[in-house]
Symmetry: C2
Subunit: 232 residues, 2 copies
């Protein structure tokens, strides 16, 4: 029987940075940790990778359990593996960032897991290296969103240009000219204008758009240059 002699074994976990958008601000979903150490402190939602699942499987399982959502946009961030990152026992964690439509989130789960949405810029300190993970995830979200149309994942099926505009401004933490933004985003050919208007935000109302799913899947890997000043 072949075996790998005397190599150390470690725990492997996943931690998810869950981003959402409430129409005004970028938010992340945090939970109160349910086990020692650091019990009852705020942390990312995570869990150990089980014997019969991949890290991707584990991340999806954790998300399903804590948000009620399946088929969420999920992307591997990186592995966090400093020997001392977990004080109890060496644990490597695979970081994931997830984009979800905050309105699909099942609020009753808030109570089950003591989960809560926080403004990205006004969140509590987190345990271990989770603060670093959030910073990394935010950076990667920005990077990716500048080139690929992924922010739609945080919006309802129908959305308006002003909503999209605000979301881009939030993610990039900067002001974007409405006229130039509108021109760029429509020139991608990814949007389909609908008849209906959203009248909740203003007197005039803003037209709803939806994604052209065909073009979306075809373009999701293409470069799009969705942000100004990328070349500075």
């Amino acid at each position: 029987m072949i075996e790998y002699s005397r190599q150390p074994h470690y725990l492997v976990a996943v931690d998810c940075i869950v981003f959402g958008f409430d129409g005004e601000h970028l938010k992340i979903l945090l939970v109160k940790r349910g086990l020692e150490p650091e019990i009852n402190k705020w942390s990312l939602m995570g869990g150990f990778v089980g014997a019969d699942e991949s890290p991707d499987d584990a991340a999806n399982r954790v998300l399903k359990k804590m948000t009620g959502l399946e088929g969420v946009y999920l992307e591997q961030l990186q592995i966090y593996g400093e020997p001392s990152r977990d004080p109890i026992e060496r644990t490597l964690s695979v970081g994931y960032f997830a984009l979800i439509d905050i309105h699909k989130y099942e609020t009753q789960l808030n109570d089950d897991y003591e989960a809560e949405w926080f403004l990205i810029n006004d969140r509590p300190k987190l345990i271990f290296d989770h603060n670093e993970m959030v910073a990394d995830a935010r950076k990667k979200l920005r990077y990716k969103a500048a080139l690929h149309p992924i922010l739609f994942e945080m919006l309802p099926k129908q959305f308006t240009i002003p909503q999209l505009h605000t979301l881009f401004e939030e993610v990039n933490d900067t002001k974007i000219d409405t006229r130039n933004f509108s021109r760029k985003i429509t020139s991608t050919g990814l949007l389909i204008k609908l008849e209906e208007k959203d009248r909740s935000g203003s007197k005039k109302g803003a037209f709803y758009f939806k994604l052209d799913k065909k073009k979306y899947s075809a373009n999701s890997q293409a470069f799009l240059n969705l942000m100004p000043n990328l070349k500075s």
Copy 2:
């Protein structure tokens, strides 16, 4: 004493996809595996993550041992963690891709570890999921190189525009117009033209350039649009 009760533990390894450029073609460095199973089959260079090191540390250690090089450009690719990816025992592997100047590589190490450079397009089948890793690494290299000036890591300190041009064509597996390429690459402001010429490749000779290290470190995180047709 707090502990995480009865969670499964796994082996954690690193595997490095090492890219090099010989002046004409993109190559990867492979080794003959030294342990069972699949002993003597070609594989990526890798090793287990030791108790006192992070995966990044482990990757650097492996690279140092097998190439003689330190301070190599190294970037985390992703984690490979399918439960069945290693037939002997569950092992998660962190993939890294490395860019090295093939001329700095210490050839005597070829014999020590039965390592060998292969043309990227003419390489042997590898063990486990290493073929998938190479494909992923190549994709990421292409992606990254289109936006960031990282390919310089594979060239000597002094290099010529035609060399750079060939390298870009190899990485992207496409022909690039010399005039447009030259314009773009010089307009980045990252290159400093030297007095000397490389006369090995032609009668006329090609001027050597070197990197402006200040601008390089300032720009290494910026977007640069180094490839044509990014927006198709």
